[in-house]
Subunit: 305 residues, 2 copies
């Protein structure tokens, strides 16, 4: 492993999981960290998310040859800028943000003397904060790196090696393509989930307790991702605006078509559409990106529990 | 238990689960069944979904004092009508359909001499067919009964007792209110999930293999319910058209508002909305209607698996 000391700025779900995963998979590597919240720093120390939690980001990055920013997309630039002097000139700077074009620009502008290779581990849960992290988060998940056209290939391969050591499979993509792919696989689904959960809670002819009571009919699946960190998701939509709006437009067109099929009673169109979407599920399970147990194994089928 | 013999017409996820649950919870009760598909009848017999599988529905219902139709909502009337003579005059007729107003009318018209008390167990998985059923499906789930205004209260309480014996909690509702509540807690979520999975698979600038690969970002949650039985869901939308279109209208308004917030960069509106939706998730978990483990316990967090 080319890196000897990784500094993690931001000790929530992502930063905390990286810290725990490094200590498990790369025991020889030094892991320091910092979080802007004193409460989070305390919990991070208690849980041992990193070997040493520092009061300031300057102390945390001192001596590190890899610095990973794990803060909300909208905060990257502001958090990185003050560290221009504190980060070693030959250190590699990376992040875990869910949108890459804007973050690459912001980190580049904040740290003009440093090499920045943005990354995005496509892994997470609905939980956030210093108690949410766990070492296995990145296992069998994809991590997308979006290096600039001209980059230091040694540093790039070192970053790839780092993520592979944490259990991830690494892919290289352009920031533009990343933002388009994630708009459909992650950002749009979250927007839709946030929307429908809001709609359901605002009805006057159906009570909120009824919505909760009968959520097993399908609604509950949406509430999981609609419980994700609001600050991070606000920033995702603001930092990947164009791609999200593009995908949303396509979604709205398709929804309008199905709405019309329901209104005019076109059962064949509905059936054909519903039959088609089954195959995608099958492929996702074959690729090991989801749990094949019915209901995600929620109710321990057959076990009589 | 007031019933001595239940006949199940349709041996898929719901019918098969009822058969298995009855044999587990009500060992003294006779359970017969029939399915229109010879293949399904064979598997049902192999799995022992009911005590006896019959070639014809007439034989299956003969002597039964409870007949439950577990066929797609659109097929209820056509399947029930030929059984007018075969079903004992004092037998109670019920069903498990996801929309209640139209099904109540159809079963009433098909069996004018019989007492019909429709029911809807709010429980299911993305799987369907004779291999999908399991005895625990209804445990700690709600079953909604929608009896007519004037009904036989002894038969009604017997039906309630039957579902409680299978582990369900029973609620009484008017068919109209049921269809509105389920439109938001089940039908709209399925429509949205079917739509977004279709949208994602039709893109030209993002390949389907990319959608599958990076689905862990949130998309995969939608694919679960979008893998549900196409025939049943086509019928649900056609038989609960008005309520679904009403809820869809509200959803579209809310989505348009969030779309605008993204376009104009109104971070506060996004944050407020996203923060609000977290509480619903918490309540659903408190009510025991979903799995509290992060990611539905998909990745066995912390277990290092």
């Amino acid at each position: 492993m080319a890196f000897r000391h990784v500094a993690i700025i931001g000790l929530g779900l992502q930063g905390g999981s990286i810290g725990l995963a490094v200590q498990e998979a790369l025991p020889d590597m030094r892991v320091t960290g910092h979080d802007i919240s004193a409460e989070t720093r305390l919990r991070a120390a208690e849980r041992g998310l990193v070997q040493q939690v520092f009061e300031t980001a300057e102390e945390a990055v001192s001596g590190a040859d890899l610095v990973i920013f794990c803060v909300p997309p909208g905060a990257m630039g502001a958090v990185a800028a003050p560290l221009r002097e504190a980060i070693a000139p030959d250190a590699l700077v990376s992040d875990v943000g869910s949108s890459k074009q804007l973050i690459a620009r912001e980190l580049g502008a904040a740290l003009p003397d440093h090499l920045v290779i943005p990354a995005h581990p496509v892994a997470g849960t609905e939980n956030s904060g210093p108690d949410a992290g766990f070492a296995a988060l990145f296992r069998n998940r994809w991590c997308i790196v979006t290096p600039p056209e001209q980059t230091d290939l040694l540093k790039l391969s070192a970053l790839v090696e780092f993520w592979e050591a944490l259990g991830a499979n690494v892919e290289r993509m352009s920031p533009e393509h990343h933002d388009l792919v994630l708009a459909v696989t992650s950002h749009l689904p979250h927007l839709i989930a946030y929307t429908i959960v809001g709609t359901a809670s605002d009805l006057e002819d159906v009570t909120q307790s009824e919505v909760i009571k009968y959520s097993a009919g399908g609604f509950r699946d949406f509430t999981r991702i609609a419980a994700s960190d609001p600050t991070m998701w606000r920033d995702v939509f603001l930092t990947n605006r164009e791609a999200v709006l593009t995908m949303l437009q396509r979604f709205t067109e398709d929804l309008t078509a199905l709405q019309r099929a329901i209104r005019v009673g076109d059962g064949d169109q509905l059936f054909d559409h519903f039959a088609r979407t089954r195959d995608i599920r099958r492929s996702i399970i074959q690729e090991g990106q989801d749990d094949s147990r019915p209901d995600f194994g929620r109710s321990d089928h057959g076990k009589g529990k």
